[in-house]
């Protein structure tokens, strides 16, 4: 579902641009998320939601909720209302396997989705849009499928529960469904214009007869980055006409590039991101060399004025990944006031990122091709709501 980022650093007096193909801030500033929410017409996810999730799931809300990484939504309140009444929902998320290189920005929605699966005890369908990348990037069908499987391994390594998760690829699964729901006739592989329906279809429970037969009113919640909002707005418009519930969305900020908040991480610039294949040395090098610092240019100035936490990347990254709220708060105070220096913050960040990346690698090493086959098999999931 994600597209490649074509951000150019020099954007002059233009409005910020956010759509599935391009993300760039106005001028060289930051993305204005409030404006984005207004422009798109979705809602903010405020603290009352986070508290409500805590009460409903009886567990600590995920770090991405506590830190407002997932900050916007459409109809999440309805999902929660229904859940309180005992009505479940299913999760739907996906990936466009454009390259084998996955970076931390790619993992963010999957990490959050995994938490949602565990906390609410609901099933999940994961779409690998191998046909999208094939069409747009001229990959062969075989290469696309192979990439999809490699990406599936990284996704599985995030810790999804196989007894509640169905992974499917467009080439192998979706074609027939689109024909059925939208009434298209003809080939499986429909062409660029028709791509949005392919992404929309999994929002409807009838697309998965082996899982949700007889449950036409089952709601769908879609965790995604906010640039996916336009795709799903169309789906939400169409849903009632087809007799389905509108899918709900829960949307995240962009994970900023190492060089700063002018856009999102791009898989085509190796130094803009931390990859799951990076070694400890790579991470150390990249953070030290490329992570944009909000610290002052000299130690004296820094002690005097403190760091600009609005633009400081190491601090931002820590707010995404440092679990301990107290420690983060401590760093915010000390670094913001200038008592702590950038080097220290970067050092802590390197530790945190290395731990995450190494844990991911160990988990990925345990994912076999047979496991991928099992996740992708069209099979019933009898315990998916337990």
């Amino acid at each position: 579902m994600e597209k490649e980022n074509e951000t150019k650093a020099e954007q002059e007096e233009q409005e910020q641009v956010v759509n599935p193909w391009e993300v760039s801030a106005k001028g060289s500033g930051k993305i204005d998320y409030d404006k984005l929410i207004d422009q798109f017409g979705c809602q903010r996810l405020d603290k009352t939601f986070v508290d409500r999730v805590f009460r409903l799931t009886s567990r600590s809300p995920h770090i991405f909720l506590r830190r407002n990484v997932f900050f916007a939504h459409r109809d999440f309140n309805e999902i929660l209302d229904a859940y309180e009444r005992g009505e479940k929902f299913y999760l739907y998320t996906g990936r466009g396997p454009s390259s084998e290189a996955l970076h931390l920005g790619h993992l963010v929605p999957f990490m959050f989705t995994k938490y949602l699966q565990e906390a609410f005890k609901v099933p999940l369908v994961i779409q690998l849009t191998d046909d999208e990348k094939c069409m747009w990037k001229n990959l062969t069908v075989e290469e696309s499928k192979r990439l999809a499987r490699e990406n599936a391994k990284d996704i599985i390594a995030c810790g999804f529960d196989i007894s509640r998760t169905f992974i499917f690829s467009d080439f192998d699964y979706v074609g027939g469904q689109v024909v059925g729901i939208f009434g298209f006739t003809g080939e499986d592989h429909i062409g660029k214009i028709s791509f949005p329906p392919v992404q929309a279809v999994p929002s409807f429970p009838s697309s998965f007869p082996h899982l949700f037969s007889g449950k036409d009113k089952l709601r769908c919640l879609i965790p995604c980055a906010i640039d996916q909002d336009p795709y799903f707005r169309m789906t939400r418009d169409v849903a009632p006409r087809l007799g389905y519930s509108k899918p709900a969305l829960i949307e995240s900020l962009f994970f900023p590039a190492l060089q700063g908040e002018t856009g999102k991480m791009s898989a085509s610039d190796a130094n803009s991101a931390i990859y799951v294949t990076d070694s400890q040395k790579d991470i150390k090098y990249k953070v030290n060399k490329y992570a944009f610092s909000g610290g002052q240019d000299s130690v004296e100035n820094h002690r005097k004025y403190g760091a600009n936490l609005e633009v400081d990347i190491p601090f931002k990254y820590l707010s995404f990944f440092l679990e301990d709220d107290d420690e983060l708060e401590h760093i915010r105070k000390e670094y913001g006031s200038g008592r702590m220096l950038t080097g220290e913050v970067k050092k802590r960040l390197i530790e945190v990122l290395t731990e995450i990346v190494e844990r991911h690698r160990a988990a990925r090493a345990a994912v076999t091709d047979e496991m991928v086959d099992a996740f992708m098999a069209v099979r019933p999931l009898p315990n998916m709501f337990n």
Partner: protein, 315 residues
């Protein structure tokens, strides 16, 4: 640790592999080696230790006169243009466990080299015998290629002969002809046999199909990253309950031990138990849940695999 020259020679003798041994001052190049054994019957060999962008390694062993074009080889392996380059010195020590200038097929005896792919020059078959370093630059041994072949297979290595000078086209309809020789994550003998059955040998020398056979011993599967030891350990703890529990207990003990120190005892006194307990929960919850989920997924996959080939009979 790595095999030594003497250990290798002992083994060759024990297996009754015929070879002739020549000692000489240390040599780092084929030219230097030629000064000492060039007059003796047999083909001098050059041995390249290569690596691709995904940190997979290859030994290409060829007659000194055979032209080896790394760009062509890279394409034939399916690595694209420029996907192959000489491996760094550290890899020589770490993986092959031989000194500089001493790359040799015999290095594959070492466990550390188990995922290195070996490509032998087809031209070896035209020679009566060829010279190789027996894990040390101060000696050369010459042996008949069939004996080298036999020896390598006896230690479970797959042997592939390639026409290194060939330059077949690689494209959409012509898949890379050597793709099967790229080391992969989980490689079993049957996989290699299947894949290489279609390897085409240039009919110049002989019309026999590529000699790729191996002993029944399975090539052990390994994860794709450098830290083989650590990741191998945790992969198996996902399939084995005992190892899983061991890993959990190890992590928990580590936390307990790190928390019970003099300063903490003084600080918390009787409450130390509660402090350690909550520290354990905080630090381990996420990690152990992930472990358990992977364990479950592995078990499910095994069952799924078994179920799909032999569906259970219901009465």
């Amino acid at each position: 640790m790595g095999f030594s020259k003497d250990q290798l020679l002992e083994r060759l003798q024990a297996q009754q592999v015929q070879f002739s041994k020549y000692e000489h001052p240390i040599v780092m190049t084929v030219e230097a080696q030629a000064k000492y054994v060039g007059h003796i019957k047999g083909g001098l060999t050059k041995n390249l230790f290569l690596k691709d962008k995904k940190h997979r390694f290859y030994i290409v062993s060829a007659l000194a006169d055979t032209k080896v074009d790394l760009k062509v080889l890279s394409q034939r392996l399916g690595l694209g243009k420029g996907g192959l380059r000489m491996a760094p010195e550290e890899a020589l020590a770490e993986i092959l466990q031989v000194p500089l200038g001493c790359v040799t097929p015999f290095a594959l005896l070492n466990e550390s080299a188990q995922h290195v792919s070996l490509l032998l020059d087809q031209g070896f078959k035209t020679q009566e015998c060829c010279f190789f370093h027996p894990l040390s630059n101060d000696t050369s041994i010459s042996l008949h290629i069939q004996d080298l072949d036999m020896f390598l297979k006896s230690v479970g290595r797959v042997v592939a002969y390639v026409d290194l000078e060939a330059n077949p086209p690689v494209g959409k309809d012509q898949p890379p002809d050597l793709a099967a020789l790229v080391p992969s994550d989980t490689l079993s003998i049957t996989d290699v046999l299947e894949k290489t059955a279609s390897l085409q040998v240039d009919s110049g020398v002989n019309s026999k199909p590529t000699a790729v056979t191996a002993k029944a011993s399975e090539l052990s599967s390994g994860p794709r990253k450098e830290k083989l030891a650590n990741t191998a350990k945790s992969s198996s703890s996902f399939a084995d309950p005992e190892k899983l529990i061991e890993e959990i207990l190890e992590k928990a003990s580590a936390i307990v031990l790190s928390e019970i120190k003099e300063e903490n005892i003084k600080k918390h006194g009787e409450q130390l138990g509660a402090v350690v307990s909550s520290s354990m929960r905080k630090n381990l919850s996420l990690e152990l849940k992930n472990l358990a989920t992977m364990f479950k997924n592995t078990a499910y996959t095994e069952g799924f695999g078994a179920g799909t080939c032999c569906p259970a009979k219901r009465l």
